[in-house]
Symmetry: C2
Subunit: 386 residues, 2 copies
């Protein structure tokens, strides 16, 4: 083995995620292991356009007794069973021991219905309808993020029964909290650390963050779009956004979606053109996901950005706000591995030691690039299917 040259598509190795400072173990030689585990049935059921039993369909009654509006576009409402309660709350009690630290958390949890139709996920929505979802995300980020006592807004979508999602009606959530949660806090710490300690090539044309300092994600994505297509990790790209399988991906078909032309800290700072491009690439990514295994692809989606918006009336041009160190990005974490019914489990060694993957990110990107941008359910049916 010592005389062989290292080949990342053959030799076990690990890669560092600079956003979290954690590693992932890559075992590319192992992609032909036999599978003997749990097989989940492929999603073949066709959903109705309206489900009288769905509490998110327009006009229906929710478990808490409230009625969902007869909405025609997007629709947001406060979760009837929120994980947190509105501020203010009682103060922290004295800790019984320094190692038993407790911190009260307040906030609010919103549910965001993407569309009145029960059966239209992001992958099947028209781009103007995805654009409306983005507008709703911006509205909630600004509204919640400027409320007294709120220091972080987490917008996310959890899609698919495989992810434990209790309702197939296309919807996401926004949890607004008095604290910055662990993962985004770690990412921001590492972005700040990068900005203050990294010496970059002065001739590089990568965009820069606040105060002209280097931005970890601006640098990373600038490099990724320069890599030759066939060997790279880019899945889709338009004038403002790029979707890629990150170098440090944990999930088999994990995607990082982010703007690459300029440093943008949050969704409220996007121009109209950038929001249009955002809707377009969201459509491409979700369609390719569905086409990969001809199923409604399960995933968790999360928006990471500056914890709360800028104060009203300030803009990125006016102010070099340190909080703008955040580089807006979306994580897609999907569990599917080999087909509509074979999923990855984060268990055993991965739970106790370090995440591990067999398929390389480059191989995953290649698979996703080869998928059509026309949704398989919208493809022209063959003569046999008539």
């Amino acid at each position: 083995m010592e005389d062989t040259e290292f080949d990342p598509s053959t030799h076990p190795h690990r890669r560092l995620n600079p956003l979290t400072n954690e590693h992932v173990l890559v075992s590319p030689h192992r992609t032909k292991r036999p599978w003997l585990g749990q097989v989940e049935p492929p999603q073949t059921t066709k959903l109705p356009e309206f489900d009288p039993d769905c509490y998110l369909c327009p006009g229906n009654t929710r478990a808490g007794g409230k009625q969902t509006d007869k909405y025609e576009s997007t629709f947001a409402f406060e979760n009837d069973f929120a994980a947190v309660l509105p501020p203010p709350g009682p103060a922290a009690p004295p800790s019984p021991h320094p190692l038993l630290a407790t911190e009260p958390v307040q906030g609010g949890c919103d549910v965001i219905c993407f569309h009145p139709r029960h059966d239209l996920t992001l992958a099947r929505l028209a781009i103007p309808d995805i654009r409306k979802v983005i507008n709703e995300w911006v509205r909630i980020y600004l509204l919640r993020g400027r409320q007294e006592g709120i220091n972080y807004v987490q917008i996310f979508e959890n899609k698919g029964a495989m992810m434990g999602c209790s309702n197939p009606h296309p919807h996401g959530q926004a949890w607004s909290l008095s604290v910055v949660p662990s993962l985004p806090a770690t990412e921001i710490k590492n972005l700040k650390n990068y900005a203050s300690t990294t010496i970059t090539d002065p001739s590089s044309s990568a965009p820069r963050g606040p105060h002209g300092r280097p931005c970890l994600l601006c640098e990373y994505v600038h490099f990724e779009v320069s890599v030759e297509h066939e060997s790279g990790r880019v899945v889709a790209k338009n004038d403002h956004w790029v979707a890629l399988v990150p170098w440090w991906a944990i999930w088999p078909f994990e995607i990082l979606l982010l703007p690459y032309k300029r440093h943008i800290s949050n969704i409220a700072s996007l121009t109209t053109e950038e929001k249009d491009a955002f809707a377009q690439i969201m459509s491409i990514v979700t369609k390719r996901y569905d086409n990969l295994f001809s199923c409604s692809f399960a995933y968790s989606l999360g928006i990471h950005q500056r914890p709360t918006p800028r104060a009203e009336g300030t803009s990125e041009d006016q102010d070099d706000d340190d909080e703008d160190i955040s580089h807006l990005h979306l994580h897609f974490d999907p569990p599917l591995l080999r087909s509509a019914s074979v999923r990855k489990f984060l268990v055993g060694f991965e739970l106790m030691a370090e995440p591990q993957r067999d398929l390389t990110p480059e191989q995953a990107a290649q698979r996703l690039r080869s998928c059509s941008e026309v949704h398989y359910l919208d493809a022209i049916p063959s003569s046999e299917e008539k």
Copy 2:
């Protein structure tokens, strides 16, 4: 709300895990939320004592073509599809960009069959048979951990189809690596940090780590065993070991199992008596787990300890080795939440921001304490069942 007194069993709050420096969000007010999600069938199938199609049953042939020994006690063999390859391996290539860090990893993966019987999990094994599993863990830890190029040994068990485990035959694994994986590396960093920066009560009777310095886990567990039973987190305790739902637990019925009478860095340092007590408490914990929902309880189990054993011939009495900063402990991470068929999913907000739980660790410990120590399958059948 401001006038109310904070009550950890009512008010949302978060708790810090000092081993990882990450938080968990606790939403105790939410335990009565309606459940509409995926329901998995309870495990009612009775397994045969021998399965001719099981590659771990004695004498059968494995997928790679090799034959499993006709073993009568425990049996370990090298995984035919290991995640890593033996050292030495080729050196790291130059990185195409500083943010794309790659590090070759070498090592070996062992499979450890706990018992020849296909149907006997740890919960159903006699204590002397569990004792043999512990002996096998010690043997592999010493053997692998002293091999050239090995810097870490992770012993773990992944049990249950719900965890993606491909074979119900009771078995675990040991992955031996040239690197210390992310999670144990973080734990060791935080243990070292605690030892060098914490000022503890000099009159405390808690055991201490190497060089007489404070040990995070010695201090923590010493406090936990002092808490009144009814309000505490202790699930089971014997002369040397305690099983508890940690203050910072993520999984509903997560358990931390560790020695509490003295600082012990690894399983090879256990006395005969401590190993006997280890087998006894393993039996109690796994029986209570099975009895909680009357099913073969799914979990991932991992042993965290000093990365590799001491050099041959040295003992803890002879040497104040800095590596002994590790405090031997076992993590049980089980996914079940409310019944044999309702599981927790780490998705959405938890994947994107921070783990979250509804049931408090104190409530979970209370539930586990109320379970019998006699396995439900071994309980005397009622007259109707005859």
